[in-house]
Symmetry: C2
Subunit: 275 residues, 2 copies
């Protein structure tokens, strides 16, 4: 038996990318990273909804979810725990920013073994760094999981200590927005809060799931307010609900809201070692 195809480009197993693809030239596209458990993907519909919304906002034609599902099953074949990255670009185009009259979008599905976090990360939480890199304020792109990710690359490059798992990002005005690779939740005065993503940040699928099952207040949040949190945790469609143990020298302890949402994550069908 031949080894499974872990990458499909426009459905082709040996597919490569045209050097003139606008995804490469301008980051003109969007992506999703989707957790699979065998042939199941508990948040698939939410990912499809966000992909559709993102494509609509950027005027990129969006493929049928059914086709993406079939291709995801191909690339994850034989992987017990997988992450599928779907990348949709506006496709190849002439030189220049103007939108092509008849775009031929490029579709990439790539499967990776799901990254495994230590059980300790879920029990006691992650060590987090407060990043110096600030997120720029750009309401026209805010919320979209688009391919312009240099800010995240710069932020992640701020540390190489493997004991630090994540970075906390503020926007140019100093508001707390998210982690580098995850959204952020805090319990402050007994209220579950997540930062507004109207100006920057990525509208996470795991964040949407939390909002669907708990009352969440979406608001602006300063660092001073964040330090008052009785619980702090990250939401990630790849990693689930991750308590924050510390942000630099500020210490936090996982509490009942975090535990309840970890429990919910297991009930969705994600592996129980994630809580």
């Amino acid at each position: 038996m031949s080894s499974p195809n872990r990458i499909l480009v426009n459905g082709r197993p040996d597919g490569m990318i045209d050097p003139l693809d606008r995804g490469l030239a301008y980051g003109d596209g969007v992506f999703e990273t989707i957790r699979f458990v065998g042939r199941m993907s508990p948040l698939w519909s939410r990912h499809m909804q966000r992909l559709q919304d993102s494509c609509t906002r950027l005027r990129i034609p969006c493929p049928e979810p059914e086709r993406l599902w079939q291709e995801a099953l191909v690339v994850t074949q034989g992987l017990g725990q997988a992450v599928v990255r779907i990348t949709m670009t506006r496709g190849a185009g002439e030189r220049g920013y103007a939108l092509p009259a008849a775009p031929q979008p490029t579709r990439v599905l790539a499967a990776f073994p799901a990254p495994i976090r230590a059980v300790d990360d879920y029990r006691h939480g992650l060590r987090v760094r407060l990043c110096e890199t600030r997120l720029a304020i750009q309401p026209r792109l805010a919320g979209i999981k688009h391919l312009n990710r240099l800010e995240q690359v710069l932020a992640r490059a701020e540390w190489d200590d493997p004991a630090i798992a994540e970075g906390l990002l503020c926007d140019e005005a100093g508001r707390v927005i998210s982690a580098v690779m995850a959204n952020l939740f805090a319990v402050i005065d007994g209220v579950l809060i997540t930062p507004s993503l109207e100006r920057c940040g990525v509208n996470g699928v795991a964040r949407a799931e939390v909002q669907a099952v708990r009352e969440v207040q979406v608001c602006d949040l300063s660092l001073g307010e964040l330090w008052q949190a009785s619980e702090l945790f990250l939401s990630s469609s790849v990693h689930g609900m991750l308590p924050v143990r510390s942000v630099d020298d500020k210490v936090f302890v996982p509490g009942p809201v975090t535990r309840a949402l970890q429990q919910h994550w297991c009930e969705l069908g994600f592996p129980t070692e994630l809580a």
Copy 2:
């Protein structure tokens, strides 16, 4: 004789891009668009300097200019008037934002016939639209011609009237920064001014050439100040010095500073019909 190779990827004429290239995944790279006149490229050294600076800021290994020059000669072969786009990415990597320990950068050289502008554009100037899209403020990326260009895609998508050639971009705070595809100069009270690019915008090679031959004041500029300009023009390494005839309903007339810089452009070796 076979037709010339207009694209080289890492020196290979049939080269394609790995679907896992970070240039595609995150826009993790930089580019240059360089005007060629036959086998001559008057601003080549300035492009090489900027490419080196950009790569250094993003910690991407930069290839030797001599190798790029040889490859540029290959892709432009037989083209009298060409534009060469050089794209440098951090190369393929594992999933995730963290920098690869040993990056294998990807190098794309692609040649296009140089776009021709009407002589009237150089004589009387371009019609320009004031864009609604604002440039986000991000000092860590300001000046770099990187691959995160969704703002320019959004701005250019604001109009499809072919009579409008360019868009004027302000930053989130309302300061005038540049055009979508070019830098901006204004003569105000007899002083030649170009907006500061400390917060956003691209540090243009043609802009640097203007700064090398004229006294230029670099400063913040409001729209109110811009409307007082006696001359307004754009600088572009592809198109040279382009007067602005109008920004929406505000009208401008090309003046002596614009004409002198167009003359300088010809003296550099660019075609004389560009003035």
